[in-house]
Symmetry: C2
Subunit: 335 residues, 2 copies
DNA sequence: CTGTTAGCGCCTTCAG
DNA sequence: CTGAAGGCGCTAACAG
């Protein structure tokens, strides 16, 4: 692999000149530039990203920290991040944090100028003590899918989302509406809790009560299996509709209902949250939140921050939207 | 940020000594080591990954190149890669290639010693000319989910998978079996084509014919929508079972059948491919292929390669497995 | 406009 | 066992 010195020598100029053409400096005559360019091309020379980074002081790398990288939604957000980062000429390091433990050390070690020029925290909530340090002397950081004072962030109004989903069902004429969700995250924000709050608020506003056993929500992964759906449908007064805290749950609930011979939406309406790609194919009504865009815009914010263009405390709320498909309908026999 | 020189000075030793304790060299007395360690801790010093990389000649970074990072299966493979890379102390750069164009240049530029120490090509098939260059003077590379002579790779027997799925249906007593798939990849291998071949082979072996219109497969994304499923079910002699080239298709087909009032598996058996997490929740029978493990093992192979421990032409076939759930059953009325 | 020279922070001989 | 010095490849500041 040729170095800048090789090029300089071969071109009969100094390394400084080569460096200048490399960096599009105007301080080079066109003739010299063309010649150097020709030599570079001829030698198939590529400057060392490493050496450049050391000299510059920072690498052309962004870090994306994802929590329990397991959901399709994380994937979509990542795609957004990758696209704008790539467009801007940055590599992106992907870091998956699983437990609270490695969150503390590994991430802080990652978010240093010699590792990356900026960091995206996807659905991750830093602990309060760390916020200062992150906001302080380290690399610029923005939170995608979450809100935290002191750190630039993109988020949605989860409570509103829960409310919108519930109100959609209420407007269709449902009165017995259940909620199914889980807080899948140990170290992140708790969207499910807020969506549940929105559900409760909507029910209350409509003068509807939430019968015991109508809320399936908890820290475990199994709240949402077929079994859990069955519990709901086994109730003396089973719901005619259910608000799921995620599309993936909605899919399972639908499956569970159909396995019992119920029809969706005729016998049971189900609404999800997220609007994953598959939701469209399966005709699942849902609350759409910007997945790809949250990643893309988060990356743009970060890029701005890195250039000192924005206050590091910008918080932007992303829009959400009710998408009505074929998994929700008026209840069969209005109760 | 303190440098190694700061530490050396504060500890009253030379930078060489500090460097040695940093790299666990045995050429340091315990006393000196402990002292230096104490100072390091006290100053909260972390060596610059950048400087180290430049000095060493290569960065502690692996590159994972994914094609059209859109499927949940890619995510699982990534998780495997991240886990072992992280375990081994490597960062991983994620690169998403969308078109054939950026495949050519960007990837080759990424796979250089100053960008990463090794590369994983996930479901990507390099063009033949590039293989030489990749296998030649560049960074070590392994292909995850694909096979190519000259490059270490992990793959499955897609044809066998197609055959297994089909034979499962045949053994259940089905005779009218359709195939639905799409080749979702422009620049990758073509698993669907091989799975289709396996399907055809199994049908032939069983003396079953494949009626016209029983194979829905093509380059477009919509071959598999409800519409396509409907075409199948609208045939004069509709299938009693269908082999889907992926779980995601199986989900949509199931949905389409149910929308017509058909029951799965009673009226129509459906089998998928991959065994995504959601497939278990939805009770989809499928051919399981190692997703997470392919990524993990691929990363291990790469790590080995980077240490020159393995021939760079190792090819390992990953096992696949028939998983029978509740989307396949004996046909209602044996035809 | 251009060549030269000092770093960037760390690793690695090479003497001691 | 340890300190000093050269080099990794590139950028930037300084004289010309």
């Amino acid at each position: 692999m040729p170095t800048i010195a090789d090029v300089a020598q071969r071109a009969g100029v100094g390394v400084g000149t080569v460096s200048r053409v490399l960096n599009d400096s105007p301080l080079v005559s066109d003739r010299t530039r063309d010649h150097v360019l020709a030599v570079i091309d001829e030698m198939n020379y590529r400057p060392s990203a490493l050496a450049r980074a050391l000299s510059i002081g920072t690498a052309g790398v962004l870090a994306a920290v994802v929590q329990r990288m397991t959901s399709p939604s994380a994937l979509q957000r990542l795609r957004g991040i990758l696209d704008v980062a790539s467009e801007a000429g940055f590599d992106v390091i992907l870091h998956n944090v699983k437990s609270v433990d490695d969150h503390k050390d590994q991430v802080r070690d990652l978010l240093r100028p010699d590792r990356c020029a900026g960091g995206l925290l996807v659905s991750i909530k830093p602990e309060d003590r760390e916020v200062e340090k992150l906001a302080g002397n380290e690399v610029p950081v923005v939170i995608v899918d979450g809100r935290l004072p002191g750190i630039a962030s993109l988020y949605i109004d989860d409570e509103l989302g829960g409310r919108m989903a519930t109100e959609h069902l209420i407007e269709l004429g449902h009165r017995r509406i259940a909620f199914v969700g889980e807080w899948e995250d140990v170290i992140g924000f708790r969207p499910t809790a807020k969506r549940l709050a929105g559900y409760r608020a909507a029910m209350a506003d409509a003068g509807l009560e939430v019968p015991e056993g109508y809320v399936k929500s908890g820290p475990h992964e199994h709240v949402v299996t077929l079994a859990s759906t069955n519990e709901l449908l086994d109730l003396d007064d089973p719901p005619t509709a259910v608000v799921a805290s995620a599309d993936s749950h909605a899919m399972v609930i639908t499956q569970g209902a159909r396995a019992r011979g119920l029809r969706v939406p005729d016998d049971l309406s189900v609404i999800g949250f997220d609007d994953l790609e598959i939701a469209e194919h399966l005709g699942i009504s849902t609350i759409r939140q910007p997945l790809y865009d949250s990643g893309a815009q988060g990356a743009r914010m970060l890029l701005d921050l890195m250039q000192g263009e924005t206050r590091s405390t910008d918080h932007v709320e992303m829009p959400i939207e009710l998408i009505v498909r074929s998994s929700t309908a008026v209840p069969r026999h209005s109760s």
